[in-house]
């Protein structure tokens, strides 16, 4: 299972903070997971295709090609604005 988290504007746009996705070969990279999640509907398609969306796996920022393993925690969020 992949635990997928959404934060801030992304969480609000999707009206979803967390979703579990069964791990399989079709979601074995960040890019593939993004494409799979985008199939959930127009809003998901729109939000997940945002260019500046950041992805972290197990709390480290990664790129689209990063491989996903069963049990990973994946997060999608907009550019950060702390401080």
């Amino acid at each position: 299972m992949l635990k997928v988290l959404f934060f801030a504007r992304i969480r609000e746009s999707l009206d979803c903070a967390e979703v579990n996705v069964e791990w399989q070969h079709s979601v074995s990279s960040v890019g593939a997971l993004r494409a799979t999640l985008a199939e959930r509907g127009n809003r998901w398609q729109e939000v997940l295709s945002e260019e500046n969306l950041i992805c972290a796996v197990n709390q480290s920022v990664v790129n689209e090609l990063h491989a996903l393993n069963d049990g990973d925690e994946v997060a999608f969020y907009p550019p950060v604005t702390g401080g």
Partner: protein, 149 residues
């Protein structure tokens, strides 16, 4: 000592500075930065702010930045305290303190930590004002500041 605290409660910069120096004997310098909630942002009056974060990753990211700073400069102790939740204009948001034997290292490490916190740490600000609420956008100038290092 390198330490990170993410909390909803307010903090006292004077107490934090004293705690940073407790047990340090060689340190002749402390540089600190305190960030506050703005009264206005992009010419809009700010009535309130909500700060969201990614628990766990926030602390991990800032701790890595402190470790990096301690590797680049002579850092005696460094502490970052960042608030989350509902805040009002004028409230403290963030405090960074670095002690060192000399001012150069203290200044540089403090600024480096703040620039990288703004670029990397997963916090998001939502402002409330007369026109309703909106998520604050990232600034290109913050990216440029972090790239200087």
């Amino acid at each position: 000592m390198l330490d990170v605290r993410v909390q909803t409660e307010d903090f006292d910069p004077g107490e934090l500075q004293a705690s940073l120096l407790a047990g340090q004997q060689e340190e002749g310098a402390v540089a600190t930065f305190t960030g506050y909630v703005r009264q206005t942002n992009d010419e809009r009056a700010v009535e309130g702010m909500y700060l969201e974060h990614y628990p766990g990753m926030t602390e991990k990211t800032i701790a890595a930045t402190l470790k990096e700073a301690a590797g680049r400069w002579a850092v005696g102790a460094a502490l970052v305290v960042h608030r989350v939740g509902h805040l009002a204009p004028g409230d403290h948001i963030v405090w960074v303190g670095v002690s060192s034997a000399h001012r150069g290292d203290a200044f540089a490490a403090c600024e480096f930590i703040m620039d990288f916190l703004k670029m990397r740490a997963p916090f998001w600000k939502k402002e409330t004002g007369a026109q309703g609420e909106h998520w604050v956008g990232a600034r290109e100038s913050d990216k440029q500041r972090a790239e200087r290092w």
